[in-house]
Symmetry: C2
Subunit: 373 residues, 2 copies
């Protein structure tokens, strides 16, 4: 049986070309522990250093500002817990965050920390005025994602960071969905801490990173052998880190994905042409990841629609929540229950072709009872 | 240049045969997210389930008692923080623990928890009487490693667990060094929580696991998507987990490493024959990992000796601490500074040969200024 067309790159991506070869070296003869002072430690130690430079380069950061972690969720936890541990005060987040941020922030309230969860507008955007009103003199941290995993909506981080800094607080942004998809530089973004997830942009699962601005003090989540400048102990996942580095290197070289944007918009147009105003876009039309199309087709239920089309691999929302009925992200945007239940997320990747797009448009049109049927 | 003989398996091991092939499948076409409900999620989801069963089988546990983590240090942190979070009371550990346990326990004292660090005897063994005396009605957790990373000394966990349970507390054991090296069953050991590190027994770096006895409540360290029964969120490191499972499967099949024990003891005999009573064993002669030989050669400094013999890859202690001068483990055993500074750790593995052993014995004898020179 032919494999379904994969339009679920926001859930996870295949490895970018060459990443596997990079990894396999450190799963083979160069298996040593980077902390070993003998010869077996040298190549792995160098691999971790190279990857650190590669990722720093992609983010416009310095290598010493990168801490490798076991996944993006761990990086989020390190950022949030690591800047607030042992302190009292106030933390601000917003309603459409990934649960790794939202649940971690909610857990803080057990530790003498107050939490404000900002609302979003109908496109999923945080309003700067809402943040300005929420900031207090004891606000420690503002954590707002760079791009949303379900809708692709890109938050105005630079503007939010400026407000945050004026109030004397730190800004963390979960950039798991934007790294490698849109080019940016941490300094222009204004982020003090920024989360990276390897498997969202052609790197392997099981490795993430946290950018921590030079000079910032963060408490470690995992203590012990003192790896990663003491901020993340545990023997380094050398192959995974090298793979993430190789993916970062490629993302730096290729820059944006203009062909992905074109294909994404072509898919949108094909569906609009076939189904007319039954197609509603969820999220912001322009301030959006180049690969993400989240739509609701009137008269359909997303999960049922996808079940009718096994030739397409996509999702109704976050992969983590594939079992749940409706998306808290779309609810926070004020979408009514019917429209939210109709949502499907089509997320493209580097290997997506025009043939895929035409095929998917036909399949969805037929399943939704429109077009040539 | 020929590669040095690798006798540093307690720092990290090469992948066991077949493990790489298992991993590569999930780094290639079967790259999907295990949480995805479409076809790409199926094989990865099955791979994680298979690995869970394989590891459970090795430990004599049930699959639902296994939580996969990003490394052994994370598993230790999950065990220690997860059972004590939000509670007041008392925690007991012992002096020769890995820093991932020791530092994590020390950090607990910031949270209204008292800590007792038990001493060890000259072989590195915890005395049951010391534990009995330290247990109090409010002791929540006792964490004592199964086998020491530097000396290989195996603690009397079953006896310590019985005392711990009689006092109404939980027993956690860091079994990073024993899993796959000596056969055991969690129920006989009496552990309520047990740490596994993949790369110490032929699995990959970047993946660990925590055994949590059925019915025990543990607070997660990393929250979010709800993976691993909600105890460790973050997209699963499918390839790493599958690799750990494959290594566990092999360890179950091969059982102990009798040839490793023979080679280890042969190395010890060769050095004793050549250098006589200048060779002192650090750790317990019998209650010891089958692959570990930690010795001090009188009149030598470990780091200098190893530097003289680049044809041998070994260490003076834990890889994490390769930079530091003396071992806290040996100090806790009451070894004098000279003997502790003389320590070298020779840790064998499945691929170690008799030729390796004879070669290393000659090299060390020559470098120590003994034998045929």
């Amino acid at each position: 049986m032919e494999l379904p067309v994969y339009l679920d790159h926001n859930a996870t991506t295949p490895l970018a070309p060459g990443v596997l070869d990079t990894m396999v070296a450190y799963l083979g003869t160069q298996f040593g522990n980077p902390s070993s002072s003998h010869q077996y430690g040298q190549a792995p130690r160098q691999a971790v250093a190279t990857a650190r430079t590669q990722l720093a380069h992609l983010l416009g950061a310095r290598p010493q500002e990168i801490v490798f972690t076991g996944c993006g969720s761990e990086a989020n936890t390190l950022a949030i817990n690591g800047t607030t541990a042992g302190r009292t005060g106030h933390v601000i987040t917003q309603a459409t965050e990934h649960p790794a941020v939202l649940e971690t922030c909610r857990a803080l309230t057990r530790h003498d920390l107050r939490l404000t969860v900002l609302p979003v507008d109908e496109y999923g955007l945080v309003r700067a005025a809402d943040l300005a009103a929420a900031l207090t003199p004891d606000t420690i941290l503002v954590t707002v994602m760079h791009a949303n995993n379900e809708t692709g909506t890109i938050q105005p981080i630079a503007e939010l960071a400026a407000l945050t800094h004026r109030a004397g607080a730190l800004l963390h942004t979960d950039a798991a969905q934007s790294v490698g998809k849109i080019p940016f530089v941490v300094d222009e973004l204004g982020a003090d801490l920024l989360t990276v997830a390897g498997h969202k942009f052609g790197g392997p699962k099981g490795v993430g990173a946290l950018y921590i601005r030079d000079g910032l003090t963060v408490q470690p989540l995992i203590r012990g052998g003192g790896q990663e400048h003491g901020l993340r102990s545990g023997t380094e996942n050398v192959a995974g880190i090298a793979g993430l580095g190789a993916a970062a290197q490629q993302a730096t070289t290729t820059g944006g994905h203009t062909h992905v944007t074109e294909l994404r918009d072509q898919l949108h147009r094909l569906l609009m042409t076939a189904l007319g105003d039954r197609v509603a876009l969820n999220g912001h039309l322009e301030q959006r990841l180049p690969n993400t199309l989240n739509i609701s087709i009137e008269g359909t239920v997303g999960a049922q629609l996808l079940a009718q089309v096994p030739q397409l691999a996509a999702s109704t929302g976050s992969a983590c929540h594939d079992g749940s009925i409706s998306s808290p992200v779309l609810a926070a945007m004020g979408l009514d229950v019917q429209r939210a239940a109709g949502a499907i997320r089509l997320s493209l990747g580097a290997s997506t072709t025009e043939t895929d797009i035409r095929h998917v448009a036909d399949l969805l049109t037929d399943a939704a009872g429109g077009g040539r049927r």
